[in-house]
Each structure stands twice: as C-alpha cells, then as structure tokens.
C-alpha cells in the first residue's frame, strides 16, 4: 500500500483529479494499491501499514498546504520512502531546512541530470512538464540530482530514499514514480 497525500485546497476538490489520480494510476500500473488521504485528515496515522509515501502536487495558485507546516511533522518520523512532487517537494524542502523561492515555470523544459542515482540511472537529459510558481533551494546535506535552466528539478536526502521532483511525472516521465516504487517500496513492512 502506498500513501498518496492530497495537498490540494480542499478534501475532495476538483484538483484531486488533476494532481492525485494520475499518480494513483501510475501506482496501480506497477501493481501497487494506494490510499489517498488529504493533508488535513491526519495522513500520518494512515501511513502505518504503507510501504511508501507520495506527496502530490497542487494547482499553481494553490499554496494553502503551507499555511500550517506542522501538519507534515509526521513525515520524517514515518521512516518510509518519500517522493514529493512539486508542492510535495516544497514540503520536503521546508522539513529539511531549505528555502522556498519564487520561480514560475509552466510547460515543457529540458532537465539535465547532475548526479547519478538509482532513480535516474544512465540518463543525462530528459524533457519534463513543469507547473510551478515556486522552486526550492537545496536543503543542507541534500544532493541535487537534476536541474533545468530555472531551478533544481530533482533532489534527494543522501541517507534515506526521500526524493523531491519539481516536474510533474505523469506527463511522459511516469518512470520516475515507477522506479521509486519498484526500487524502494517493494519489501513488505
């Protein structure tokens, strides 16, 4: 079971279809089940029987998830592999001591891989779809794995499988989610 945390403006919002369900379909395509919980509905308690966490993205105008960052204090303590997508990457940045900066980006962009990693083996460049108003500085100790002209597009915690991606993987880069799941979330807990 994979926990998908919905970061959109309201539980059951119209944005869930756009930012959560496409990720759920990728999870299901690799044979995993998922549980979707809105960030205001105590997702930490829903993580107990899960093998991994995906913090999903939000619409570009939707930053309400950062109004009370203490709602995400359970994430590091869960000990689970985490993939943060766009808004989810911002949360990981905040939790790890990085900074959120204004940096709008909409559309396809070239992404250059800057460090090798299990999640992106043998890839030097790829195209990705970005949809963000902000970007993230690299949290202390974290490793930047990929970048575009504008910003860091992918980073990771050096010691644990905790990844952030700024681009939206459902558009042509489903492999990122699939490799995260198959690489880190397979063993039963």
């Amino acid at each position: 079971m994979i926990l998908l945390v919905d970061l959109c403006y309201r539980d059951g919002s119209l944005a869930r279809e756009e930012f959560v369900l496409p990720i759920a379909r990728i999870v299901e395509s690799v044979g995993e089940r998922c549980r979707i919980v809105h960030f205001t509905r105590s997702p930490g308690s829903a993580a107990r029987d899960c093998k991994g966490i995906i913090l999903c993205g939000t619409p570009i105008m939707d930053n309400g998830f950062m109004d009370d960052p203490s709602l995400f204090s359970w994430v590091p303590g869960s000990g689970l592999p985490v993939l943060g997508i766009c808004a989810g990457m911002e949360i990981l940045t905040f939790l790890a001591g990085g900074t959120i900066i204004s940096c709008p980006g909409i559309g396809m962009t070239g992404v250059r891989v800057t460090a090798s990693d299990q999640l992106i083996p043998g890839i030097r460049m790829f195209e990705a779809y970005e949809l963000h108003d902000n970007a993230c500085t690299l949290p202390p100790g974290y490793i930047a794995l990929a970048e575009s002209e504008r910003c860091i597009q992918m980073f990771r915690d050096p010691d644990r499988p905790v990844y952030g991606v700024m681009f939206h993987p459902e558009v042509g880069n489903e492999w990122v989610v699939a490799r995260f799941l198959t690489g880190y979330c397979r063993p039963s807990r």
């Binding site: 756009e18 379909r25 105008m61 949809l131 558009v171």
Partner: protein
Amino acid sequence: MRLGVLCSGGKDSIYSCGMAKEREEVACLITVHAENEESYLFHTPNVCLVRLQAEAADLPLVETESAGIKEEELVDLGRALDIAAECHGIEGVVTGAILSVYQASRIQRLCRERSLWCLNPLWYTSQEDYMQALIYQGYEVLISGVFSAPFDAAWLGRRIDARALAELKEYARKYRITLTGEGGEYETFVADAPFFRKRIEIVAAEATYHNFRGLFRITGARLVDK
C-alpha cells in the same frame, strides 16, 4: 470558488463543466469562435451552438471572436477571460484538456497572468473509464467531425454509445488513435448532459466527407423538454 468553463461544445469541456458543477460554483461558460478551421487551440465544428448549450444548462455565456491564428489566439482567449472575470467574478478557469501540453500550458500561463486558478479535471484521466462514464451518465455525445483514418462518413452525426465506443477502442488498438480524440482524430458535440435542464434536438444538419476528413454541421437545432 466561482469558475468559468472554457467550452467548445464538445464532450471534454461539457463533462468537465459537469464535474465542476458538482464541487464548485460554475459562474459562466466561455467560448471563442475561431474563423480558422485549423485553429490550434479552439475546437471549431458547431461552436456556435455553445449558445444553445449554455441556455440548456442555464448558464451565462461569454463569447469572443478569434481569427484562429497560432499564438494570436491566446490574446483573444485572454480577452474572454478578462470579460468573464469582470462580468461574472470568476476566480478560476476549467478546461477539458486531457493530454495536450500545448493547450494546457498556454491556458495555465494566461490564468497565472490574471491570478486565476486553472483546473483540468480530465488531465491524464483513464480514457476508457472516462468514455464509459460519458455513456453511463447519460451524456448525448455526437461525432461532429472526423479528421483521420479509418473514420468513414457513417461516423458523422453518430452518437457515442456502447457499440460506437467498442469500435473506437478497436480503432485505438489497430490504428493508434487516441480513444478520446485528443489527438484531433475526431470532434464531438454534446446534445444533452445530466446537468442540462433541456436537451438539444437537432432538426437540420449537413455532412461533408472526403478522404477521411468530414464535418457534421448542425444547421438547425432547438431546445426541447427532457
């Protein structure tokens, strides 16, 4: 949230409107009439009938014109969004984009420039589930144009029902068309939707077809009780 729905008259925008009505407040439909039938951004067959759809749904309609020239279309769409914001107080825009990054990213930029939300509830949806939902929920969707092989003239004006969907699935498998027509393989017109108070009865239409390209132009239509 008060939303304006970008509406071409086809299934994707009308279904997105239905989804938006269930969860938010739809303040108006927004449509752009493109003179150019090859418009990159706006679906064109029967777009003049969005007026009748708006009346059927009991929603105000914001209409603007566009020459349908690449990129200049965006200025025309931006003008429509400005009118919708000013006249109907919309806070966001809903589109029926499914896979088109070209369409979605341009509309996202227009919305951001105006501090409007942009919502795409069909984005990367399961195309098969979506097509089945259209049928199951009672949307009356007609094929209003075909633009690729292997569609023949018999498809023009045909309703998408379970049998038509089975054929479309076969086409998608054999000829690699997108099941939803997102690749421009076909266009649709919605004559009825669960949230319409009246349905649209087509009383006159003309079909033209040549070499896998055809249009079903509705030349007469009226609202009737459901």
